[in-house]
């Protein structure tokens, strides 16, 4: 077991797959000579050459669609979209093409494509560069969307995504690239579509993904000191969604709080709350709370950005209030 960064874990997964399978190639803006805007692909151009680590012009629709077409002929392209905000330039190719081709042609062409792209705010990048719009893709049957929170999951889910025969969007997070964690050297690919209970507890279920799954564990440790025993469910996969793991946890704890970096209304948390309503209605002793980003375009000023982003304090307060509400009913 070695401790490496989330960035290194992603890099290692890409490198191992480039070595393992000659059909794997990387495409994206500035991934080669510049070594990636966030340096995930550092050193790979030198090792694998320009045909397998292909710098593209600034043309998200063109190169994402080209990756879809290359995948239809059996290559396994891994496309980097510099941040998820820019994926909107490619959304026709992702939603109308990558997600549709297998079904629309009656299963004749597979699209073994990976789109890796970071979301996340908190870097003072303003309204157009701080969004969490993974929901747009998690909404679409035909796509798979995974959202690793730890270095181990970043590597295991990336390995799985590359070996999967469907288009998979791997949601990375700007705030997680420098975080570290233990990653086994012989790590196997993860199973896409499974959540993980990353902390067991009996008082309250906290459901989260990506950065907020890390915040959830941090908050859980703090609340343990106050005598609140938090169970954390890290979704890991947004489509498919592992509803059974969520519901099983809530049937044990009788209440739930969802932590999410996206906007509240219609967000991922709304789907989680609806799932809990359907699967654990008779077990619930408090309304499902959602802690999400304020519903504004992200401001630039630090004071405003901090006010907009969900924090550990916001999460802790919502969890305390939920546990209190349950106690009042008992």
């Amino acid at each position: 077991m070695t401790v490496i960064s989330y960035r290194q874990a992603l890099h290692d997964a890409l490198r191992e797959e480039l070595l393992r399978d000659e059909d794997v190639l990387l495409m994206g803006e500035e991934i080669g000579r510049f070594e990636g805007s966030y340096k995930i692909t550092a050193g790979l151009l030198a090792e694998f050459g320009a045909k397998r680590v292909r710098d593209t012009p600034i043309a998200e629709e063109g190169f994402t669609g080209a990756a879809v077409g290359a995948a239809m002929l059996g290559l396994r392209p891994v496309v980097e979209i510099m941040t998820i905000n820019f994926s909107l330039l490619a959304i026709d190719q992702i939603v109308n093409h990558a997600a549709k081709i297998y079904g629309m042609f009656g299963g004749q062409a597979k699209v073994p494509l990976v789109i890796r792209t970071p979301g996340g705010g908190g870097q003072q990048l303003g309204a157009t560069h701080s969004q969490n719009i993974e929901l747009y893709y998690a909404f679409v049957p035909g796509l798979k969307v995974v959202a690793p929170a730890t270095p181990a999951d970043a590597k295991a889910l990336m390995l799985a995504a590359i070996r999967d025969d469907d288009p998979v969007l791997v949601l990375e997070n700007l705030a997680l690239y420098n975080t570290s964690g233990e990653v086994p050297e012989d790590l196997e690919p993860a199973e896409i579509g499974r959540a993980a209970v990353t902390r067991t507890g009996r008082d309250v279920t906290v459901v989260a993904y990506s950065r907020m799954a890390v915040v959830a564990l941090d908050v859980a440790e703090r609340l343990a000191a106050e005598g609140i025993d938090v169970e954390v469910v890290d979704l890991r996969s947004l489509r498919p969604l592992d509803r059974d793991t969520i519901v099983a946890s809530v049937q044990k704890t009788n209440c739930a709080v969802v932590l999410e970096d996206d906007w509240l209304t219609y967000g991922i948390g709304a789907e989680i709350a609806a799932t809990i309503s359907d699967g654990a209605f008779d077990w619930l002793d408090a309304p499902v709370r959602r802690v999400a980003m304020a519903e504004v375009p992200m401001p630039y000023a630090k004071s405003l950005e901090l006010a907009a982003l969900p924090s550990a304090e916001d999460a802790a307060a919502a969890i305390r209030e939920t546990v209190d509400a349950v106690a009042r009913r008992r």
Binding site: K51, G62, F63, G69, A71, H97, G103, M104, G142, N254
Partner: protein, 372 residues
């Protein structure tokens, strides 16, 4: 000589291979004519079936485009790939896909080329390397470019032909795709079928450079314009373009073609003047080609009669096959969401509960007084 005009921003480093002979054999000419007639009759029959509500959705026909279809497809090798748009029945026929399987797809039946999942706009056949009709204008351009990238990555000798209408040249994907193909020297020929109208908008209204092939200059890409009503000229131009693409110089070919009817079957095309409609009819590529061959003594009235009778029989058989083909079984609804199965994939029909096995309220171990 094929009636082409060629514009070239600068000489390419690799020479363009010579086109095949401009004069096809008499047998080839007859085959072209028979294929054009088959496409015409197939499309007329599809229009009738659509009007009878046996075909659903949208239905765009290749009526007036038969010479372009036949010329282009005859220039391809079996191992080449074709990507096209939603006006593609004729291309699928000319690529050798069985007419009955195409008609069955229009009918939405299980034996259709896309198993009833695609319909008129989304024909696909991997064996024929017919990589899809696409319903979103311009959607096929990046895909076709990527297919050429895959060929380039693997070092193959195949090429890709990517068809589009004139209106598609104004979408962003056109620019992005041609630029990518040019900088990466991909084996692809982009073909603009210019019938003068994007639905009801004319090329002159929509395009600041209405000589569409000249758009290639922005990418230092070789290009040509050809008379799309002449199958022999189209074939020669396409062969030259493909030779260029295989040598690493992607090509933009514009075929100036016609549209005899509306944008789709339901469109009466009231925006066209009587004169425009008359001009399109006068330029009918099948009548024109037949007249040329008759005059040259290379086609007989008997052969024309045979071609029409055989086309009618083929189309009638296609319709019979389509009508007899089963509707897809609703139990196959979830068969093609994912190629790699994953846990927790949703397979619920509308209205089904998320948790059908949830225990009854009275057995729930809740401390919630309201539920007790």
């Amino acid at each position: 000589m094929p009636r082409t005009t060629t514009s070239r921003a600068r000489p390419r480093s690799k020479p363009t291979a010579a086109a095949p002979s401009d004069t096809p054999s008499e047998a080839q000419e007859l085959a072209f004519y028979r294929q054009m007639v088959l496409i015409r009759r197939f499309e007329e029959r599809a229009a009738r079936a659509y009007s009878e509500a046996r075909i659903g959705g949208y239905c765009h026909l290749n009526l007036g485009e038969e010479a372009t279809v036949t010329g282009l497809m005859s220039a391809l090798r079996a191992e080449d790939y074709v990507f096209t748009n939603y006006r593609e029945h004729g291309y699928a026929l000319a690529r050798g896909i069985a007419p009955e399987r195409i008609m069955a797809e229009l009918y939405g039946r299980a034996d259709g080329v896309s198993k009833g999942w695609g319909g008129s706009m989304h024909l696909f056949d991997l064996a024929a390397r017919f990589m899809g009709g696409y319903g979103i204008v311009g959607g096929q351009l990046p895909l076709a470019t990527g297919a050429a990238l895959a060929i380039d990555s693997r070092g193959g000798d195949e090429a890709v032909v990517c068809l589009m209408g004139d209106g598609t040249t104004n979408i962003g994907a056109f620019h992005e795709s041609l630029n990518l193909a040019a900088i990466w020297k991909l084996p692809i020929v982009y073909v603009i079928v210019n019938n003068g109208l994007g639905m009801g908008t004319t090329v002159e209204e929509a395009s600041a450079e209405p000589e569409l092939h000249r758009r290639a200059a922005a990418y230092r890409m070789a290009s040509a314009r050809v008379d799309g009503n002449d199958p022999v000229a189209v074939r020669a131009a396409a062969a030259a373009a493909l030779a260029s693409a295989r040598a690493g110089a992607p090509f933009l070919l514009e075929a100036v073609s016609g549209r005899l009817k509306g944008h789709s079957v339901v469109d009466p095309a009231r925006y066209r003047s009587r004169e425009e409609v008359e001009a399109a009819r006068a330029a009918d590529p099948i009548a024109g080609y037949a007249a040329r061959l008759l005059e040259a003594g290379r086609l007989s009235e008997q052969q024309i009669e045979d071609a029409e009778r055989d086309a009618d029989r083929t189309v009638a058989a296609a319709v019979a096959f389509a009508e007899a083909s089963p509707h897809p079984d609703p139990d196959t609804l979830f068969d093609y969401t994912y190629a790699t199965p994953v846990p927790n994939d949703s397979r619920r029909r509308p209205g089904e509960p998320l948790f059908p096995t949830m225990p009854a309220v009275s057995t729930a171990p809740s401390t919630n007084g309201a539920a007790a």
